[in-house]
């Protein structure tokens, strides 16, 4: 197992569902060109949707790739392919056609869980807009492992259900607008940040 590091966070995992395209574009556009943590994205989408990578590549100089099985994990933005679960193993990605979890494949929870179990406190989880509860249990696991949690401010989300549900699961997650998330991620590189104080409901 790749143990936890003194240096700081080593992986960012992002979950998005309905409304995710705009949200992801904004988040990714906010990352600096030298951002060196892998950003792993799970976006619920139809089997045949293929444009996501290209649309995201338009807004960042970081390489955006749709993950192939056993691809090595390094800097850049990695998008899980439609209809496969995305998991991390030691240093590389693994895909699976395991049953959908809560009707979703890819499942954000599955991705988050495997990141939490592999990267532990070195994981940063981000939950964005969406109309379901996927991601909540996974974000809780990232928090329990000592990782850092971020949730899109539900008031600014295109669809509020998913961020709201994530906040219920992890009340001390940092609540940020889309525009704030990229710079926030850039700012926490190389150091640990404490959980955010709970917000008034």
């Amino acid at each position: 197992m790749s143990g936890e590091s003194e240096a700081g966070y080593r992986m960012v995992v992002v979950g998005a569902s309905a409304g995710g395209l705009y949200a992801l574009r904004t988040l990714i556009a906010g990352l600096p060109a030298d951002f060196d943590m892998p950003v792993v994205v799970v976006q619920h989408r139809a089997k045949e949707s293929e444009l996501l990578c290209e649309l995201l590549q338009e807004c960042t100089p970081l390489p955006v790739t749709e993950v192939m099985d056993k691809q090595e994990i390094g800097p850049g933005v990695f998008i899980g392919p439609p209809d496969y679960h995305l998991l991390v193993d030691d240093g590389s990605f693994a895909l699976s056609t395991d049953d959908p979890v809560r009707y979703s494949r890819p499942s954000i929870d599955v991705m988050f869980q495997s990141a939490a179990e592999t990267y532990g406190m070195d994981t940063v989880g981000v939950v964005l807009t969406g109309a379901n509860q996927d991601g909540s249990a996974g974000l809780r696991q990232i928090a329990d492992a000592g990782g850092h949690c971020v949730v899109q401010d539900p008031e600014t989300a295109e669809v509020r259900v998913m961020p709201r549900s994530a906040l219920k699961a992890v009340p001390d997650a940092c609540v940020l607008t889309l525009e704030e998330i990229g710079p926030h991620l850039a700012g926490i590189r190389g150091r640990r940040v404490p959980p955010c104080p709970p917000r008034d409901a």
Binding site: M1, V67, M68, D69, K70, Q71, E72, P81, Y84, H85, L87, V88, D89, D90, S92, A94, L95, S96, T97, D98, D99, P100, V101, R102, Y103, D109, V110, Q113, S114, E117, T118, G120, A137, G138, R140, Q141, D144, A145
Partner: protein, 287 residues
Amino acid sequence: MSNQRVELPDTPAAYNRDVERIEVELLLEGVYRHYGFDFRSYAYSSLKRRIWKRITQEGLASVSQLQDRVLHDSSLMEKLLLDLSINVTAMYRDPGFYAAFREKVVPTLRTYPFIRIWHAGCSTGEEVYSMAILLEEEGLYDRARIYATDINEVVLQRARAGIFPLEKMQEYTQNYLRAGGTRSFSEYYTAMYDGALFNTTLTRNVVFSQHNLVTDGSFSEFNVIVCRNVMIYFDRKLQNRVHRLFYDSLSRRGVLALGNKETLRFTDFEDKYEVVDTREKIYRRTA
């Protein structure tokens, strides 16, 4: 479909990950030594998920408890085998693959007097029937022999029976058409109450048999090997070993077809093949 709502994650959050790793290794070692199924080099994260699914369903609390039960109860081993060998499949899964195969591989196959195809990890057989129909339509079926293998005898029995869920036929018909099918898909099966029974003539040149890619060797030489969505469950070391097996089992200029999201790029065999279709991951042996 097992779409039951899972409120709790499969692995308890408080579980000690280092202990879990040891327990999983011991379980797999025991399963291998007692039953001969070797899962020791499967991709860890997804393997672990499926082990926990079984633990939860049996009402157990740890990997060690599962090990204890599995070693003393072979019916539980059967269940675990089904859990570990994910059997999801479909007819004309990824229609683009069959379209590319028709366009780019079939012309070469026409020049062969005899065609040997190996479907490794064929699961319940849907892709074997899909291929048989394709070859039939291209007028090649009578020259072809298909060897369809899987680690799991239970799914092979279903493959031999050739009965697939009736409610899937609409989706499969769509897939078939997108794959370049030229007839009416319903010609190939008879609807019964409990399913669609595929014409037995489709399997007259098919041999279904048990074969374990991890522990069994090569058994013939093939012009085409199709192994889709099987090796994603293996770790990189094991993938390389299985690629060695495939390489050694392919004839010169033989074709290897992987799943859509698999690639030779992260294996030791990249430079031994040329790409026939980048998107559909069809390769031809060169070296």
